[in-house]
């Protein structure tokens, strides 16, 4: 499967994502400069928006990239059911472009935070969680200043009811406690998906946890997120 990794000016996890994808059998990652065409065709099995500071996060994190021609093409692909993953700044871009609900606000500490977190898998009906078990606890690092997921009360209730929370911060045993919430994000939300399930955004970096050598627990948990793309599934995305 060819997977497009889109590089905006200021992306800084693009090469890391490429390297992580290369470790997964069956995936052929392609680095796509945001101004290059080529996303219009259907030759990509999935699109990934990597982390970083696209366009220096000017205006708001992800705001300028969200309005780029590249994102217009990503939107069309998403509407056709192509799996789209946004990690960190990629999640912020997806939220800014309206492909995912909510907003990502400044962390409650008002500081950038880089640390290893535990996240619990809440929804396995997406192309990026299909290889995981519901309730499975993954160890992945975060690194961001704006990752506090926010949504109005009623909409948040609907998001929860429809099961669109994909990942939740938790402790090592899987409990979503206040102490395990690094950013003050609502309901410990670390990642969400759209109603169709094909668009997923998450703050933790699976590409940084894709090798045992780099993981503090010695587990390549992040690769399970990325390799889910290769798992045949009953999900609702695509045709």
């Amino acid at each position: 499967m060819r997977v497009a990794v889109i590089r905006f000016p200021g992306s800084n996890c693009d090469l890391d994502m490429m390297a992580a994808l290369r470790t997964i059998k069956g995936i052929e990652p392609v680095l796509v400069w945001h101004e290059d065409g080529g996303l219009g065709g259907s030759d990509y099995g999935a699109v990934i928006l990597p982390g970083g500071f696209s366009f220096a996060d000017r205006l708001r994190a992800g705001a300028i990239a969200a309005n780029s021609p590249a994102m217009a093409r990503v939107k069309r692909l998403a509407e056709r059911g192509v799996p789209v993953l946004g990690v960190c700044n990629g999640f912020q871009i997806l939220v800014e472009s309206g492909l995912l609900p909510g907003a990502l606000l400044r962390n409650s500490t008002l500081r950038f935070v880089c640390e290893w977190t535990h996240v619990r898998v809440e929804n396995t009906r997406t192309p990026f969680t299909s290889g995981l078990r519901e309730g499975q606890v993954l160890s992945m690092p975060i690194a961001h200043g704006e990752g506090r997921f926010f949504l109005q009360h009623a909409e948040l209730a609907r998001l929860e009811k429809e099961g669109l929370v994909a990942f939740r911060y938790c402790d090592a045993s899987g409990r979503p406690t206040a102490g395990s919430n690094p950013t003050g994000t609502l309901h410990n939300i670390a990642g969400v998906c759209n109603a169709e399930g094909n668009v997923v955004g998450l703050m933790p970096h699976p590409e940084r946890a894709a090798e045992a050598l780099l993981s503090i627990l010695g587990r390549p948990d992040g690769s399970l997120v990325l390799s889910s793309l290769m798992v045949r599934s009953e999900g609702r995305w695509g045709a």
Partner: protein, 738 residues
Amino acid sequence: MKAEQLGLGLTAQEIATVRKSLGREPNETEWSIIDAEWSEHSSYKSSRGLLKLFPTTGKRVVLGPGYDAGVVDVGDGYVVTLHIESHNHPSAVDPYGGASTGIGGVLRDILSVASRPIALVDILRFGLIDKSGHSRWLLKNVVRGIADYGNCVGVATVAGEIEFDDSFERNCLVDVACVGLGKKGDLILGEAKAPGDVLVLIGGSTGRDGIKGATFASKNLKEDAGSERSSVQVPDPFMKKLLLDSLLEIVANRGDIRGMKDLGGGGLSTALSEVASKGGTGVDVELKRVRLREDDMSPTEIMTSESQERMLLVLPSGPGSGKDVIPVLEKYGVPYSVIGKVTSSPRLVLRWDGKVVADLLASLVTDAPLIDWPYKKPATPRISPRPAVPADEPPLRDALLALLSSPNIASKRWVYQQYDHEVGLRTVVKPGQADAAVMRLPNGRFIAIKGDGNSRHSSLDPYEGAAGCVAEACRNVVAVGAEPIALVDHLQSGDPSDPEVYWAFRENLRGMADYCKAFGLPVVGGKVSFYNEDSATGRAIKPSPIALVVGLASKESGLRTMAFKRAGDAIVVVGETRPEMAGSELSARFPKSITVPSQSPHVDAQEDLKTCRAILQLIEKGLVDAVHDCSGGGLGVALAEMAISGSLGAKVDLALAPSSCSRSLETAFSESHGRFVVSGRDGAAIASSLRGAGVPHAVVGKVGGSSLSLSAGGPLVASVPVSSMRKKWEGAIPELMD
């Protein structure tokens, strides 16, 4: 205008030298160029002669001092590049902007030699944050400045060190080092060798920020330092990221760049004169072609601006010139302009609309006359006498908890959590896990990185103290399982015209140089920063030499962290503890607990080399699972940190440790050099290996339980739950800062 009316930083003697050498009165632009390049910051005129004492060669050294970065061979065609910078004055005035641009500058140096920056290390010095709101403000904003810049550019900040001492209250020190990774065959130097080649200025535009920044850095800070804000440059990490991405893409595609030089201190003046002087050529530049942020800038302002995010490229001339360079710059939206050409006459010729506005020999600009300052050993002893019997000796438990919550020793998690230390997929041993950061290399090997200093020791005994900084950095790199291969240094002190300050500086330098020679460690680069002095109070900082050491490890199984790994493991202390309490953290917290004679730690490079080899041997044999250097806070703190890190207690008899101390408080908290604490399953095997190496050692106890229980040849003298120690150690800095 005459030189005397221009507000230059040059001395009367230097002004006379210029006039004599030129045979005429230079114009204002020429004076400003010489002023920038002859500043202490750019010329090293007070230190260049002495820096020759450093050993700079070795089997792995590809490029030593004198270039933008030191280059070390790490095998299989790969090189690691190293550079250290400080941004002390700018950070004291504008901590956020000063620290950011410090990062920006050191990244450019690594990029200049065509290597990719992969790791940042910050060594910071502030006043006492538990007493001073100003110091907390500085710390908060320096850290935010480093974080915002490094995180945005996508270079992992993986290691560092912070020290708090009253002498840094108004002059904080912000030392930033960068490690790069490249291929030996891709290296580019800051030289313009071929007449006819084209000079291209790329990146940010030239504005009025940072004008005469190098001159600003070469004098003492004034009372109204706030008025010097225009001497601080404006950071733009986004432009830096585009510069990085485009230049690394050009290098990867083997684009034809003949020479490359970053624009840092001294701006265009320094960059142009140095590429010409190093290449044995001259340059002819049209200043009207420099892209300006403000269009009414004069030639003098253009030449001395230190606007950030600019690089000078030397490209071949003729048809097809830049064909593999310019399109990549355009793709990333990096502005560029051709500003001139390389000439065969060794002169720096600058034009304004074709008319010559400056014409100087490049070598006159780059070769500032050396200054041989007078120096004098201070007559008064620096150690104030203390009674032979301690006036007040705290219980061991109280002392341990007090030291763990001292900002100098407490966990720096509050700081490193704000830095992205994972980006790049290379960080194997992460901040807080061990004594040094470990990054993987593409050839399967690993580099360990750590920067260290100790201003208290370096002021009490400038020779031994500075040697001790190198010793500690080496131990930290050895503790993770790596062999030290190269060092960059940073020597920082007050006004060199003060004979006592200059004496201490010389001793710092000699101490480091002698240690490096004895240890066989090449110095591949460094930096000197004088004038860290407050002209209002006349107070200089404590002399603050810094050593940044890089080590090499060959395999994953040979890497170690500090955490105790399992209950039942034997704990072994390696190296002898002596009653060297002067300058220790204990002496700072409990001054009345110290007796006479109280020495600051002595350093023995030969003994250290033997000990470090013995530790690497223990690791190689797989006998030890946890290794920790023993430095600030001594054995007591080392044991506590291993326990906290592993969430495992330990039972230790301090009286068993090799020690010439008469009191258990000294054995516990002396900061003698040359020591490690290790743990492993088989204490007897560890001891036997160390005996074979001829290194003092002793099995002192066992890992286990939930408390650190210390005795001293008899009943327990302290038993502290690991959770209580953690609370103090992890909580101290957040409590002050949040």
